[in-house]
């Protein structure tokens, strides 16, 4: 078992008072908690801080931890003889144990054999699954490799490597969560199995931007296409389709392709919106330049006529 110096993690001395431990924890929690911290490495740091605090804030767990003695952080060590029996952690199997799981499983003194007969629910697992937009559209299977805490035959938590093959139905949206009941950690002694939560994150797509079940696509048009109208081939996640652009289409206009978005598990699919952008050629041939100059000279179109009114309140 690898040693972790919980006092060092919290930045307190080994004889720190409960109040000092609490104060130090709160300060560090504000600094690194993933829900409030901007530190990209905050989540990992907070895990260590929370682990240390969970043990040191509990009088009995702190006593049990102190009895382990002081070692170098990361050092492999064994608890003193009789430590496990005294604190209800079992007699053996410490080599593969994780310090955090060991203390999480402690229920205090005197638990002994009675504690081992208690039924306990299995742990819930939460894992992120990053999938492509195409996977979200068609549905997909993801293979997950997790290191999860599970109860051994003595009711003690151990880290175990588990492989999952989870099916994500079609129509997943960014940030959605899928609850797979009973697919989490195994319950102990008749306790119910925990759940597996898949937190879906969609990978960026080169063309489409999702908003819920709707998709957005930039649709560049040449000036003459916008002015005269056109029929264009437009990509969708289920293949190309033809889109009719009306004459006089303005930049920013959203052209709706109904039901070409992401499938919806309980209703109609979302839509695909093509957002018009009018783009001009960067390099003009001599003929193109002459044609543009002729148009400029012959047109009465003034895109800035509203400037002449002097502005003011909208």
């Amino acid at each position: 078992m690898k040693y972790k110096d919980y006092y060092e993690v919290l930045g307190v001395s080994r004889d720190a008072s409960a109040e000092d431990i609490k104060k130090s924890y709160r300060k560090l929690a504000h600094k690194y908690h993933p829900d409030v911290s901007k530190d990209p490495g905050g989540e990992e740091k907070f895990k260590d801080i929370a682990e240390a605090y969970a043990t040191l804030k509990d009088v009995e767990k702190r006593a049990a931890y102190d009895q382990l003695g002081k070692h170098q952080p990361g050092e492999n060590f064994q608890p003193p003889p009789e430590w496990g029996a005294h604190f209800g952690a079992g007699q053996s199997g410490f080599d593969e144990a994780d310090l955090a799981d060991l203390f999480a499983g402690l229920a205090g003194r005197g638990r002994g054999a009675q504690g081992q007969r208690m039924s306990m629910p299995g742990e819930d697992y939460e894992v992120s699954a990053r999938i492509s937009l195409s996977d979200a559209f068609h549905g997909t299977q993801v293979d997950l490799n997790l290191s999860v805490p599970e109860y051994d035959e003595h009711g003690r938590l151990h880290r175990v490597a588990r492989k999952f093959a989870a099916r994500i139905p079609k129509g997943a949206t960014d940030g959605q969560r899928l609850r797979l009941r009973g697919k989490g950690g195994r319950g102990f002694n008749g306790g119910p199995d925990g759940d597996l939560y898949l937190h879906i994150a969609l990978l960026p797509h080169s063309l489409f931007r999702p908003d819920g079940h709707d998709l957005y696509l930039d649709l560049p048009l040449a000036p003459w296409e916008a002015a005269l109208g056109a029929t264009l081939e437009v990509p969708t996640l289920s293949g190309s389709v033809h889109l009719k652009v009306p004459a006089g289409t303005l930049a920013g206009k959203r052209l709706r392709l109904a039901k070409r978005g992401l499938p919806h598990p309980h209703g109609e699919p979302g839509d695909l919106f093509a957002i018009v952008q009018i783009v001009v050629p960067q390099d003009l041939s001599e003929r193109e330049r002459k044609l543009y100059e002729e148009l400029a000279a012959g047109s009465k179109f003034d895109p800035r006529s509203h400037f002449k009114n002097g502005g003011g309140s909208a």
């Binding site: 829900d35 960014d174 969560r177 899928l178 609850r179 009973g182 597996l196 709707d214």
Partner: protein
């Protein structure tokens, strides 16, 4: 280990959870959740009925509020405020995501 799919549930508006399930999912007590309802921070799908159910959509915010309460040793009275602020953040983040999706890339 493969998973079968009959029990897979999207945690969205279509899913419903009972008060007891929400308590189990969030780590908050049933009485803390009832307080959230009394404060108006958490709204059941069926407020007139005796046995409340809640939209699956609220599970994430309730879990997050419960985690913050636990991690920061917050006073239970701060829970309703925490939850309301988290819901507001979620609405704003969803709107921002929507606006980003609808903004053409050349204007990023």
């Amino acid at each position: 280990m493969n998973t079968d799919h009959d029990d897979d549930v999207w945690m969205n508006d279509q899913a419903c959870v009972t008060l007891e399930e929400l308590a189990a999912l969030s780590g908050l007590s049933a009485s803390a959740l009832r307080e959230l309802v009394e404060y108006g921070a958490l709204i059941p799908v069926n407020p007139q009925e005796v046995r409340w159910t809640f939209s699956g959509h609220c599970v994430v915010a309730v879990q997050r509020a419960g985690r913050l309460c636990n991690d920061f040793d917050l006073d239970p009275s701060a829970l309703a405020l925490t939850f309301s602020l988290l819901e507001r953040i979620q609405v704003l983040e969803d709107r921002l995501r929507g606006m980003r999706a609808q903004t053409p890339r050349c204007f990023d």
